[in-house]
């Protein structure tokens, strides 16, 4: 028991008195504690004594035992089995009434019972197979979920009264309004860093003025929507997964089903719709603060006037850039919210599964955002 801090010296907690000659009838007289704390030391001692004396018959005298618990009783049963394996007759002597009771509750059958279910370590092929199967399952469940979600969304368009608008408002506040401070700060700093780092390069060509268009284009076309999407995936995608996951564990989702609601309609639609409304707005907000960050660096460090900075930024940006980014944001929002909800519905079991699926919601969400963003980049290049 050394791990639990200072412990009394265990060698004094028990002792074994041996009477008799090796190879003949031998008595081990135990005294002191025969318990969990003395178990390892006493076991070693008894086994070495047994080997040393290899008695013709063994008697274990319990008269001096002051404390016997179930682990101590287990030790005596083990000793009896050991003696039995050596063909040595074994007797327990002078067990008090209490000690006999404890010895009585040790279920000898249970000690020998084989596990009903074997724990198997899968081989390499099995692991690869298992991983492929679970990937396929995942693909099927995502597809099914997306199908269900699209149906529910279409249904909401035709039956706007069935949509839980109060919930949508709640999630708009959660995912949108409450993200404003951190998103503003993040994009402002991003704009500053972008302006500062690019000015170092552009200065060599005397093209510092182009910092404004660089920051503007980068933020409006890429960074604004991307930064927002990643932030929302971290803040809200994970929250959706954890919320629905915990509801799965608590059988709340089952309750929703038996009350006649469609869980996707009831739980996922408000979150997805709220995200799709709020994420484009957040993106615009991020673009604005990013450009402000660039403006701050331009005016304070690069000797660009505020007027020319803004004029250059306006010249660099087109309405098409802006609209395509908003469309992209809507798609990002749908992906984040849908993945978050889908991972939540996937939770089976307990607390650990909630953690796994929440992590998976963020990782899969960000991964899909990057993939879709690259697709957009290529497609928009040809559209432009």
């Amino acid at each position: 028991m050394s791990k639990a801090g200072s412990q009394p010296d265990l060698s004094k907690a028990f002792s074994v008195q041996v009477t008799g000659e090796a190879g003949q009838a031998v008595t081990f007289a135990l005294s002191g504690r025969v318990a969990l704390d003395t178990f390892p030391a006493l076991k070693d001692r008894l086994n070495s004594l047994l080997t040393h004396y290899s008695p013709a018959s063994l008697t274990v005298d319990l008269e001096q035992v002051t404390y016997l618990d179930s682990v101590g009783a287990l030790l005596l049963v083990e000793l009896e089995d050991e003696a039995g394996a050596r063909g040595t007759p074994f007797t327990l002597a002078n067990a008090s009434e209490e000690n006999q009771k404890i010895l009585g509750i040790i279920d000898r059958e249970a000690l020998k019972a084989a596990p009903i279910k074997e724990e198997e370590e899968p081989g390499f092929v099995e692991k690869v197979g298992g991983a492929s199967l679970s990937f396929m399952d995942d693909l099927v469940s995502v597809t099914t979920f997306v199908g269900g979600l699209i149906l529910a969304l279409v249904n909401s368009v035709f039956h706007p009264l069935s949509v839980r608008w109060g919930e949508i408002g709640f999630y708009m506040r959660r995912a949108g309004v409450e993200a404003l401070p951190i998103l503003g700060l993040l994009s402002f700093l991003m704009g500053m860093v972008l302006a500062f780092m690019s000015s170092l390069q552009l200065k060599q060509f005397g093209a510092t003025l182009y910092v404004s268009s660089l920051v503007g284009i980068a933020l409006v076309q890429e960074l604004g929507p991307l930064l927002t999407a990643i932030l929302v995936a971290g803040r809200s995608g994970s929250a959706f997964a954890a919320e629905i996951g915990t509801m799965m564990v608590n059988e709340e989702v089952d309750a929703i089903t038996v009350m006649g609601f469609d869980p996707i309609n009831f739980l996922a639609v408000p979150k997805v719709v709220a995200s799709m409304i709020v994420v484009p707005l957040l993106s615009v907000y991020a673009m604005f603060f990013g450009i402000m960050g660039g403006l701050f660096i331009g005016v304070s460090l690069l000797d660009i006037t505020m007027f020319s900075y803004i004029a250059e930024t306006r010249k660099a940006l087109t309405l098409f850039d802006f609209v395509s980014s908003l469309v992209k944001s809507v798609v990002f929002a749908a992906i984040i919210a849908a993945i978050g909800c889908q991972r939540g519905f996937k939770v089976r079991g307990g607390a650990e599964a909630v953690g796994t699926e929440t992590t998976s919601a963020v990782v899969a969400g960000i991964f899909l955002i990057i993939v879709v963003d690259s697709i957009f980049a290529v497609a928009l290049h040809y559209l432009r």
């Binding site: 791990k3 178990f39 618990d69 179930s70 249970a110 019972a113 009903i116 279910k117 307990g350």
Partner: protein
Amino acid sequence: MSQAVAERQPVILVEDLTARFGDRTIFEHVSFEVYPGEILVILGGSGSGKSTLMKHMIGLYKPFSGRVIVRGVDVNTRNEAELQRLRMEVGVAFQGGALFGSMTVAENISLPLREYTDLSEEDIAHIVKMKLGLVNLAGFENFLPEELSGGMIKRVGLARALALEPKVVFFDEPSAGLDPVTAVELDTLILDINAGMGTTMVVVTHELQSIFNIARRVVMLDKEAKGVIAIGNPRELRDHAEDPRVLAFFRRQPLSQVKKDA
């Protein structure tokens, strides 16, 4: 029996305990003792503070006033070493088992053994088998909690509570949510472990059948009285109590009926 019990030193002392959350008083001025080797049942109607009292007795909640002493140690002591010793001498089986969902039955039971002892893996596995035998679940070591039924989960919870050979075991609602057969099996298990190992047991329950099966002494809490309204043997209370609230509980009758009969 009760004569012999009274002469021994109490293993748990609850002294003038008052529990209050904010300005809501759950119970006040509660005092009683638990003697070594006995099975004491804390009972009372819903909302009477049974579980709150138990959580005070294991030191999870801080008392508003009063104190709880378990084996000579105040459960709210700031002495880490004493608290550690106390934690190892007290086992708690929670209402829903509170098993770790990501661990197998064997891992759940062996966790305290791994943390607090230097036993070899082989010895731990053997002790786990023995504890599973104690709760009649031999062979279930590799099951996950989600694969077990409610009664099995409670039994594994009990086996885990017994892992470090505690002197006192608290058991919250052993028979709640179980079918009568499983419930009575659990009662028998509690009696067997108490008789075999001499473990003191404090059981929180409101199942009458269970109370008559296992309790030698009961402490009855009441919501209105905000405290203890009866202490004693359940059969004697059923037959001889004068308090209508106690009679209503033990006779399973509405309070109005009992008052009319009186």
